[in-house]
Chain length 168, copies 2
């Protein structure tokens, strides 16, 4: 498999997981959180999946396509390790879907960053909310969900957050 | 369609066209020419399609993944408008497959660059050679070829160069 093949598979898996996650949270009220804007392609996909929701975006420095720049009031600018801490007040437990895909280009670095960010994301999720993530996340509060049929195990990851305080 | 959808379609079309082009030139001797290296994903795909051929790569400045950097002797470094001129001596009419995908991110700019480069590419192609290009190319020496079934018209483009001196 070439790097082109594996890149296509990764993008297809990302899209299939986001599409499935959108169905899974359809009945829940709340916001969406995109962790990393990049060129804004995935953000654009989220906009189409969630036309009625606020989509907050964490990014260090915006360098997206001009058509894919979030409104200023939904941008959390800075290092995610800081902005996610600060976002607790803003986002409370109102996030129904978070998408994490650091894609540093280096597997170990992406995994390390995801491990660092996961404990900062979980407190933002409402019970029943879903985390879609490319590095696998090991957090006791997150239960792995079945992947779409088209996605091979480990290629992308879906988790459900269920609060201990909830009966769900 | 989101920008993520359209990006995936574009990559799938690129791959399908390159795979088909590889079949179309299987019987011809000669080299491959990649116009633009980028992150090296497509170059890696070409390496897998053409393990036995020299793959020349034009690039202004190499910024690819470390595993996708061509051997120095096959790198044509600099502005393609200059290097393609100079490459006539090196490549003669020995190119059986050229791939052009400037992907400047701006449709008009990509089209203008492709129009400027096409007359510099044609003299490198051997008769029967194929040009795979994302902006459409309008050159009398290049005959459009049918696309793979999965590729919608205009999404990617395949051309065959047939020399007037040839009976093919």
């Amino acid at each position: 498999m070439s790097r082109l093949d594996s890149f296509i598979r990764r993008l297809e898996a990302q899209r299939a997981c986001l599409d499935l996650a959108a169905c899974l949270v359809a009945e829940l009220d709340g916001d969406v959180l995109e962790l990393g804007l990049g060129n804004g392609r995935t953000y654009d996909h989220l906009r189409q999946l969630f036309p009625g929701r606020r989509i907050y975006v964490c990014e260090r420095r915006v360098a997206a396509h001009p058509e894919c720049i979030p409104p200023a009031e939904l941008l959390l600018l800075g290092d995610m390790r800081d902005t996610l801490q600060a976002a607790r007040v803003l986002l409370g437990r109102q996030v129904v879907l978070a998408h994490l895909d650091p894609a540093t280009g280096e597997r170990a670095a992406s995994g390390a960053l995801a491990a660092e960010l996961a404990p900062l994301i979980v407190p933002l999720l409402r019970s029943g909310g879903v985390l879609v993530s490319e590095p696998a996340i090991n957090q006791v509060a997150l239960t792995p969900l079945p992947l779409p049929d088209s996605v091979a195990p480990g290629r992308y990851n879906l988790y459900r957050f269920v609060s201990c305080q909830s009966s769900a």
